[in-house]
């Protein structure tokens, strides 16, 4: 089959030949269709040779040639006629423009389009979803809300802009999911650089690995990992956007890069979020004096302002003999967030707030083509000097009518505090990929994470002498072997070695005299070994089957070991959580007719997790403490269907159903089975889905003026707050449907202006999250974006 060959070549090219490019003369250009639209995935190769490249999403390509004179480039792409272009010496300096003509004949064969980087990742042997962030750049989403549209993912938040987010992936949630930015662990970046405040425009794409995580990411992820890939081009660009909307929400994003011909590169990303989050909630308002409820009042949130400002600046070199990429940078930012409620809406605050900042130098280094083109290495390092502070200094009690009672004595709304701490977090990650033989690769990765919390409270200086050292070090080493059968599929096996050392000094009284204190040093080290295998196979050119397995571990986080100084007490005896994760999936691409395409994918998964780390109350019930509490299993399915007609129309939906069950048969100390053994785990959505429709009207009024309309719907089935089988008169979180709509108008050829109007939750449905916290109702946003590439 001819197409298999093209596919094979394309695959091969993408994987191996791009690393060759830096060393030879580069010819660059762009491939378009007769209408001038960019054609991605076009195979470009030197006539008579087997080497070639594939054009990227913008139709651009770069191909190395020894000497231009006499060299002929061949351009081929299914559905278009093959074209040959002879090069001349002039081709060096200018960008070649190639237009492919549409082929008249209808296609009968099942087709696979040339692969973009996105498709390549999707076809990896992992259960992975990829979000093409560029398609969302016109929206007002942050990373968290963009992830909420991925099958198997539910993002739960406690309120509006900047509120705490918790991502759940195939039933695992919180710290069981690891986050990476360009492959660098986002461990302890602090509150100023998180999913809830990073705008979608910072990302090029988001990869969501479910259950089995590539060894190259070097993570102790129990349930999966999310890798945010930022824009990395060797071109100059600027992308600036500003949006304004309901609840006095302002967001600004500036992404820009300058790349000198010498390879000197400066990248600057800056973003800002501001919101009053003054959306309406329906609550029972308590009388400030008597506690009597005025039921079902509709009131605005009044103490929920959030803002953050972050700048990421990087400079260095690209495509030099000593490095493909060497960037030194600094991430600096701060955030301010007011605390409106406790875990429930009945608890309302009017002055308590938090502050945080990030000051993090970074180093990124990448080099390929070593050892005769067989070795690629990368090294990343960062250190966060950022601080976090909790400020609660008014002895007041508020109600939802914004009334308050103030007491004479110094106190707080919750607990008087100005505690400020720094986690002094250092992360170093390194990995190397070696081609050992034809189609065979070895990957070695190593991640080192150091944490040392230091803090003090100016209100209680006498406590400072009792501050205890809180340090932990984590090291994860991974080794993977990969066998690639080119067009047919791939196979890999890997092992991960986890080590963690905790250092803590416990206070004791050496003499028994009042107030005397000394510290006894304690160090504890744990080791664990995890492993996994993955496989992917193309049954036919357009049907791929995947299977993967991992025995995964997650090491306790510093916060779980040492507490958060507010609500959470430390537990040094925490063991890692572990899970056996299984995935089986298939994907099908089908070209129905010319221009009509269907994509279908389905995955089944099974998780068998032990020693789940969960919160319980400590001895005197003053704080929560994390503990290895119980076992769960989760069997589920998720599926996605997409249909598209050219680039004019696309629609799709995904759904996830998961059966998360309590697998702890005997509670500690019990010899009879637990009443809730095999009961569904409460307070976690188990059936949910997304649907979207997108219309594009290119050149609606005249050329260079595009209009698009988008619609998105989110459904979450109702679920119980507590164990489903217990009680007859129960609390639940009702079913929710949220619908968003947006319209975008784009104008300009090279430099483009984009205007978007967006309405979220158009029918003003009541939306809830964890423990029935209410989320914003109908909201309107407008966004202006200017970009030039």
């Amino acid at each position: 089959m001819q197409y298999t060959k093209i596919l094979a070549t394309a695959f091969l090219c993408c994987l191996f030949f791009q690393t060759l490019l830096a060393q030879q003369t580069q010819i660059s250009g762009q491939v378009t269709d007769p209408d001038g639209a960019a054609l991605p995935g076009v195979l470009v190769r030197i006539s008579g040779s087997t080497s070639g490249v594939v054009s990227d999403a913008e139709g651009n390509f770069r191909i190395p040639v020894a000497k231009p004179d006499g060299t002929v480039l061949e351009f081929s792409f299914l559905g278009y006629g093959m074209r040959q272009v002879a090069l001349s010496s002039a081709s060096f300096s200018e960008k070649i423009k190639v237009t492919l003509e549409t082929e008249a004949s209808e296609l009968e064969e099942v087709t696979v389009l040339g692969k973009s980087e996105l498709a390549e990742i999707r076809e990896k042997a992992f259960n992975v979803s990829v979000v093409d962030a560029r398609k969302l750049h016109h929206t007002n989403l942050d990373l968290g809300h963009a992830l909420d549209r991925v099958s198997g993912v539910r993002v739960r938040e406690s309120g509006g802009v900047g509120s705490r987010m918790n991502l759940s992936l195939n039933g695992f949630s919180g710290k069981q999911i690891k986050f990476f930015i360009d492959g660098i662990p986002m461990d302890d970046f602090g509150s100023s650089f998180q999913l809830n405040n990073i705008p979608i425009n910072l990302a090029e794409r988001i990869e969501v690995y479910k259950g089995v995580v590539p060894v190259g990411l070097g993570a102790d992820a129990l349930g999966g990992a999310v890798n945010i890939v930022t824009k990395n081009t060797a071109k100059n660009y600027a992308d600036i956007s500003y949006s304004y909307g309901s609840f006095n929400t302002h967001r600004t994003v500036v992404n820009t890069a300058y790349v000198a011909p010498s390879g000197f590169t400066v990248q600057l990303n800056a973003f800002q979020n501001y919101s009053d989050n003054s959306y309406w909630v329906d609550v029972d308002v308590a009388d400030i004096n008597t506690g009597k409820y005025y039921p079902n009042q509709r009131v605005r949130r009044f103490h929920d302002t959030y803002h953050n400002e972050t700048v990421i600046a990087q400079f260095g070199f690209q495509n030099k003999p000593f490095a493909d990429r060497l960037l030194i940078g600094l991430t600096a930012g701060k955030n301010y967030s007011e605390v409106q409620t406790g875990a429930r809406l009945v608890t309302v605050f009017g002055a308590w707030h938090r502050k945080g900042n990030i000051l993090m130098p970074t180093l990124k280094y990448q080099k390929s083509g070593l050892l005769n083109d067989r070795l690629t290495v990368a090294l990343n390092a960062n250190y966060n000097f950022g601080t976090e502070q909790n400020i609660d200094t008014l002895n007041r009690r508020y109600n939802w009518f914004q009334q308050y009672k103030e007491y004479d004595m110094p106190g707080g709304e919750r607990s008087r505090s100005m505690y400020k701490y720094s986690n002094n977090n250092a992360v170093v990650s390194a990995n190397a990929r070696l081609k050992t033989a034809k189609n065979q690769f070895l990957t070695l990765s190593y991640v080192f994470n150091h944490f040392n919390r230091e803090g003090s409270d100016e209100l209680y200086p006498e406590n400072n002498t009792y501050e205890q050292p809180r340090q932990t070090q984590k090291q994860i080493t991974g080794l993977g072997y990969e066998l690639n059968f080119r067009d047919k599929g791939s196979f890999s096996a890997f092992g991960k070695y986890y080590a963690q050392s905790n250092f803590l000094a416990r206070a004791y009284n050496p003499t028994g005299n009042y107030g005397d204190v000394a510290y006894r040093n304690q160090a504890e080290t744990t080791h664990d070994f995890g492993y996994g295998v993955t496989g992917a196979w193309f049954v036919t050119g357009n049907l791929q089957v995947k299977a993967s397995f991992e025995k995964a571990y997650r090491l306790p986080e510093p916060e779980e070991l040492f507490g958060d100084m507010i609500n959470l007490a430390g537990n040094l005896d925490l063991k890692p959580e572990s899970s056996y994760n299984y995935n089986l999936g298939m994907s099908l691409w089908k070209q129905l007719k010319k221009n009509h395409r269907m994509d279908f994918s389905a995955n089944g998964f099974y998780r068998d997790a032990r020693d789940f780390i969960r919160a319980r109350l400590n001895n005197n019930q003053a704080m929560t403490i994390m503990d290895n509490l119980y076992n769960v299993t989760n069997a589920g399915v998720e599926g996605e269907v997409r249909y598209s007609f050219m680039d004019r129309f696309s629609t799709g939906f995904n759904m996830t159903w998961q059966n998360l069950r309590n697998n702890t048969e005997y509670e500690p100390g019990q010899s009879i089975p637990s009443l809730v053994y095999r009961d569904r785990i409460p307070n976690i959505p188990y059936f949910f889905g997304n649907g979207d429709v997108q219309f594009n009207f290119p050149g609606l009024i005249k050329e260079g003026q595009d209009l698009s309309l988008g619609y998105n719907v989110l459904y979450v089935h109702d679920f119980y707050l507590y164990w489903p089988s217990l009680g007859s008169d129960k609390f639940d979180v009702p079913s929710q449907v949220s619908q968003d709509i947006n319209v975008t108008y784009t104008v300009g050829k090279k430099a483009k202006w984009q205007f978007t109007a967006e309405c979220r939750n158009i029918f003003d449905e009541k939306l809830y999250d964890n423990f029935s916290l209410q989320k914003p109702g109908r909201a309107f946003y407008g966004k202006i974006r200017f970009f030039i590439y």
Binding site: G515, Q670, L675, N683, S725
Partner: protein
């Protein structure tokens, strides 16, 4: 529910003693059969996630089985505390310093719990029915030494007064007063407390492990009138555990576990004992002292239930710990200063937990205490006259956190 009705005349007659006052509730609920009453049992699942209490009703505590499986009124949130006053059942959330909704129930003519209303209250850690009021207090274990009090009118079902105390001023020794519980004694509110550092990485540590204190407040003004002190025992009651009861004559008897700590180590040197405060007096009775530890083979009291006529069913433990609950039981007669071990309770080796908030009809004989073993949870009927315990009602689905009794209001 599988319980069979068994007449239990004494309990119906004597009602819930101190906790149940008279009521002429104005709320128009269906007129019930006069004298309808039920035991209310709160059960917490033993699972470690998604924990909520369930309120179950039972006609008898001495036989049958009740289960939370598909049955019971779910209570929103973990760690709730329950108090019965004015024929109403109050379910309060312990929310770690945050306010929370208090849900109020009443019994209807058919013996079912009917929700009356919600009102908002502060998180408290000690409370007492005082006439038709509920008095509630909260004290800070660290940070500023603030004690807050609230007075709830059970007819209006709302807070009618509140205020704050300076706990450091009450302790007046460089530490702070931490109330173990509050009790109505005559027309005063007694708050036995322990002295704690409240700081310095050892909040519950103290330099004064061998003294007992009671803060005496006027009621309803809640003004501090006096602090009384005794150096013959350590502090009265324990964290979240009431240690004081008023007998039929109006005299107060109180126990000390003698478990004060410093940096987590027990530093009390005095034995676990009962002391007395005579009716109308605001000093410890120096002529009364009952060293229980000596009579109980070195065991100390971790909690007690007053059954009337000077008798307590005490929960006993051997190794001292600030938060430990005992697994053996004894009859303490504070009038005759005798201690008798109780037989018929499960082997302490299989006992997982013992309920603290228990029920007695105050007939001088009976107490009903929840015990969870590796085989499940039961209400045990304790007989103070024979020093015997008998397995009674089985409660499937968790640990019993409270046992109380509620009467349907009479029209």
């Amino acid at each position: 529910m599988n319980t069979k009705f068994q007449s239990f005349a004494l309990s119906a007659l004597f009602g819930a003693g101190l906790l149940v006052g008279c009521s002429d509730d104005p709320n128009p609920i269906p007129p019930g059969e006069v004298g309808t009453s039920r035991y209310i049992i709160a059960s917490t699942p033993q699972s470690s996630d998604g924990v909520a209490d369930y309120l179950l009703t039972a006609e008898s505590l001495t036989e049958g089985t009740i289960s939370t499986l598909g049955n019971g009124t779910e209570q929103d949130g973990t760690y709730r505390y329950y108090v019965t006053a004015g024929n109403k059942f109050f379910s309060m959330l312990y929310g770690q310093g945050n306010p929370g909704a208090v849900t109020t129930y009443e019994l209807d003519g058919t013996g079912s719990l009917v929700k009356l209303s919600n009102f908002q209250s502060e998180t408290v850690h000690a409370f007492a029915a005082v006439g038709d009021d509920i008095a509630m207090v909260r004290v800070a274990r660290s940070g500023e030494p603030i004690g807050s009090w609230f007075r709830i009118d059970t007819e209006q079902m709302q807070i009618v007064a509140d205020g704050q105390w300076d706990l450091a001023a009450i302790a007046n020794n460089g530490e702070r007063a931490h109330f173990s519980w509050i009790h109505q004694v005559g027309d005063k509110l007694f708050a036995p407390y322990f002295s704690i550092k409240g700081c310095c990485g050892d909040s519950f540590g103290t330099a004064y492990p061998d003294s007992a204190w009671v803060a005496v407040f006027s009621y309803p003004e809640m003004e501090l009138e006096k602090v009384i002190k005794d150096n013959r025992t350590s502090f009265i009651g324990r964290y979240f555990v009431p240690g004081m009861d008023v007998d039929e004559k109006g005299d107060v008897y109180a126990f000390s576990s003698s478990v004060a700590t410093s940096n987590g180590a027990i530093t009390s040197t005095l034995p676990s004992a009962y002391v007395k405060i005579k009716k109308g007096e605001y000093e410890f009775d120096q002529s009364y002292y009952f060293n229980v530890e000596e009579k109980a083979d070195g065991n100390y009291i971790t909690s007690h239930v007053y059954v009337g006529n000077g008798k307590f069913i005490a929960t006993m433990n051997d190794v001292k710990g600030a938060y430990d609950t005992g697994k053996r039981f004894g009859v303490v007669d504070v009038y005759n200063k005798t201690f008798t071990w109780i037989t018929g309770t499960p082997d302490p080796a299989v006992v997982q937990s013992v309920t603290i908030n228990n029920y007695s009809p105050k007939d001088g004989v009976h107490a009903y205490i929840g015990i969870t073993t590796d085989q499940g949870s039961w209400v045990y009927e304790f007989d103070a006259s024979t020093a015997q315990a008998t397995q009674g009602l089985k409660v499937d689905g968790g640990v019993i956190t409270a046992i109380s009794k509620l009467e349907a209001p009479t029209e």
